[in-house]
Symmetry: D2
Subunit: 333 residues, 4 copies
């Protein structure tokens, strides 16, 4: 309550709390009075109470997510598909081009990825593009090529699905469905990927809070699909020397709050090839459960986002460095 709020206002708040089927509990302090509202969370209760006369502020006490929470499941979740294991001490590496561009390109890269010791192959077939005039991806043809690359290498295919109506098609080819940052709060899509039963890589929206991120995961978990990987790929801030700001404290913070594994994307997170390897090493040192990295045989000829892609040689170098750091922090890579 506001300092000096009258008894009548206090009574009104108490009555309101009880109408919401909550219990009220009053504590009288030196300068102001606090009323506790006890019981199950009521939708809209915070807002309803906040507008009452005499109320200074309403402070919620419990986390809004349930199934993602370590309060519900304490042991870390490990998502495993083909040779890719992410979580619970296993560091899974996913690499590949921004977009599938041709059969030669994706097969060449898949072998680079495999030979360097990674277990997941990324590659966009359906591309969400900021401009309607940009390359939109090879679509189903791209999915076929990814499946062919899997057959040739055994790598698990990770690819984005950007619309509910594509889920069935993409799920027929992919091993992991990726939900992009732009779609983190596209709830019909979250439900549809959940219902596919496939593991999901959920990217954080560039202005999403941790609670919003975990609630988006909750939309997937609620369908009964528990194979969700959270992916930190950078947030929008005032910084302009990197494409996004990559906040690695996300990794240990999420490890405290959720049992779901946390993957880091240093390619989108920095937007500059020269910063990818240092940030990949840093992510591993912070305890990340996985990395997703863009590589391209000729970054300067890539049809999308080439400026942040590593060359095969740079990727092999990054893998060697990350392997040392993983050993230093006790992760199995």
């Amino acid at each position: 309550m506001k300092p000096g709020a009258k008894q009548a206002l206090l009574d009104q708040v108490i009555e309101h709390i009880e109408q919401l089927d909550l219990r009220s509990h009053v504590i009288v302090g030196t300068e102001c009075t606090v009323v506790a509202a006890l019981g199950e969370k009521r939708d809209g209760a915070k807002q309803a109470l906040e507008t009452l006369e005499g109320v200074e502020k309403v402070v919620p006490i419990l986390a809004p997510y349930k199934m993602a929470s370590t309060e519900v499941k304490k042991e870390p979740t490990c998502v495993t598909v083909l040779g890719l294991s992410v979580g619970a001490g296993r560091l899974g590496i996913i690499a590949g081009p921004c977009s599938v561009e041709s059969r030669d390109q994706i097969l060449e890269i898949a072998h680079v990825v495999k030979d360097a010791g990674a277990a997941g192959l990324r590659g966009g077939a359906f591309k969400p593009r900021t401009s309607p005039y940009s390359f939109q991806g090879m679509k189903e043809k791209g999915l076929e090529l990814l499946a062919e690359a899997r057959k040739a290498t055994g790598l698990a295919v990770v690819t984005e699905v950007m619309a509910k109506e594509h889920v069935e098609l993409v799920a027929a080819y992919a091993d992991v469905l990726q939900v992009g940052a732009r779609n983190m709060q596209n709830y019909p899509l979250l439900e549809a990927v959940g219902e596919s039963g496939l593991p999901v890589l959920l990217k954080r929206g560039p202005s999403a809070t941790m609670d919003e991120f975990l609630l988006a995961a909750e939309h997937i978990l609620k369908t009964g699909n528990s194979n969700v990987m959270l992916c930190e790929r950078g947030i929008r801030t005032f910084e302009d020397h990197t494409r996004f700001t990559l906040p690695l404290a996300t990794v240990p913070y999420l490890h405290q709050k959720t049992h779901l594994p946390v993957v880091v994307d240093p390619s989108h997170g920095t937007g500059k090839a020269s910063l990818v390897a240092p940030m990949a090493r840093a992510a591993v040192a912070a305890g990340a459960d996985g990395l997703i990295v863009e590589i391209h045989p000729n970054p300067d000829k890539a049809l999308s986002d080439g400026y942040q892609a590593l060359t095969p040689a740079a990727f092999r170098q990054m893998m060697a460095e990350c392997r040392k750091v993983a050993a230093a922090v006790g992760l199995e890579m």
Copy 2:
């Protein structure tokens, strides 16, 4: 080019530009050399050039959007539907509850809206909710009630569509399709609302730049639907005393760059009922073409977002104030 970049690197850049079917043009400065690349925009060209050795940075010169640009159409667009006119000197006011909750609620509010002199009725039937445990809206029943409220008052119905597969249904009832901030970059949805032929109210994503916002509009315009209203509803910043930060400079900035009308949402933009009227007045003074405002007969009992809703009395007061400010700046309200 970087200071001191050798001729060989320069030649490589020039060759690369020409492979992209662009013309190159070299300018030698005191400390560094600049190479201009001339011609139509090439997708990925900036990124491709940026990765070449010896290149310091690549600076694009032209706006990436076309059909939304004042370079293409100089006269401001006025979107008109029933009695609602937004743009080109006409200030359209849209008001209503966050969610349609019952027949009584929406009819009561519709009359408040009509009597206060507004011409659009907002109200959510399909609600995108951060938490899967929150109220998701009345869905088709809500649309029917909105249509009934239109019949009773003549107000134009503005309501959100959150998935491509709902567009047909929502379009059967609504006068304006709203695309929410979470879906600003949901490209399949943008195309679908564009193809519906109905006017679209496109909300800015909370971390979208002006270029991204205008490119999202471009996705709609490209379908041949030119009735797009842009809506500033606040951005994510470090500020925590308001729900979002409402940057009104968006209004005059967009008026310079695009012919599309600009609507302001002071309810979501502040998240606090007590700040709505001052920001509504400020938006009008900045030259906004429309306002979209949340009202509720009993904000403290609203099923969603009640804390930012105005009471009918506060809304009438706001309308009276905005009418004076509109007159002061020469807008017809």
Copy 3:
């Protein structure tokens, strides 16, 4: 307390609270227990309690500022010096060049300012500059010219002081001491300007929260100087189409929390001359108590920040527009 925290941990928290000379009060809820700590604010108490085992979080209830608060003084403060009145329904306009550049320049502008009906003259003599290679201002010579311009016009002189050791000198010439955004948390400077006894214009730091801003004012008020004007000049966000993001909700928010007047700087807040007048009108409509605006007879030849300065003609136009908006919202200008 965390859900499931044992009684022993609860007892430890209670003991800790009592060691801090606070009273404790326990509320047992459905899923967790809350302990209220009652009494005067203890420095470090929040942090100390937060680190105890079993504690989920610590939520402070009272505003940390006192003398700036409307809880202490309800009537709005009006700062008056010469013909300039800012606050309590009086809208004061301060205008002038970014930097004093010459006798002719400042006298010419002072007459423009006066003739347009403004009452304050701004102009930098000591300039804090991001780069050590930029123009640093005319220093004492600039102050003399400002005083001469005051003599010629009767305008109140508002100028920045950027170091404690300059306060005495600047105070000998100025009517209002400005503390720049970079120095908002330069506490020795805040105390020194407070002790000068002159009115102070305190600019918000580009990443300061409202609490930090009001606490900075509190550093000045604590010296016994109550003539403090708060100035919103824009915050750092991801937006790149304006120099800063100008959040006008600051104005009504501060009017609820503090009795101090709120001035808006649309020149720094946007960084673009073409956006200054619309944002000045918007600030007035939001209820601002003052405006501080950059003008220059030849903006394209200004030695600093010319790109955001209005020409005399544009300033007169802005004044005419603001006068109409002020009348519409009941402010005396």
Copy 4:
């Protein structure tokens, strides 16, 4: 130039460039014309040109800092004082309490720091505090205790100086002068610490860009003092689960742009003790040249910022982990 700008406007821009003693160079493109301005940087030139009619935008090409740049000095700088070496492959660790609180406290901590293998002792004697009602530090008495702790352990003393008028006093006791984030753009202070001749630890302001950070360093370097360490301590963003957002990409980015060493502060950068060790490891893996960490024998009784301080045991654990990561990435710790 804007698309369609007339020849007369182009001529005016050229004339203007030449009045600034720059050379102009015109490139005619498909849709618009670009004019290059060649020569030494002119203060205000960008802004002056931007306001000319017909000009679309002005793009600066060169870095605004000089002496901090790798363009001027390619070899990394190593700052060494007593046993503390920071830079050029040497990883220096600085640890200690937020504030010096008593003789016992600082001596006890100094031995913890020394025994764990660190070489620098941090501790605030003059404390800049957001609220005027908070503990302001022990001042000169605190400096004496720091000097005593140095005598007992050989650790280099790192302490903040918050006002120009204190530089002489603090420099009489300290080995490294720290400039806090709030004072990053306090130019008189930067000059004064530069002139002291002592090594300086310059903290990044929470909303400073890389260019602003390096230009602040330039203010110090210009005095002839080249022993400047840059310290990343987190930026202000919308994230609220950490006190600040700690962007580690700063480390490799600065290593590309400057020869100055880069120190990371995971304590302020996260504000939570449980996140400090993971982010310390990540900083080392990213290539940081130093760490500055808060520790306290009894964090829950600290007079300031105890919630982010490590216990001695947690600090020893962090040191052991960082040592492994440093070895993995080839840094000498």
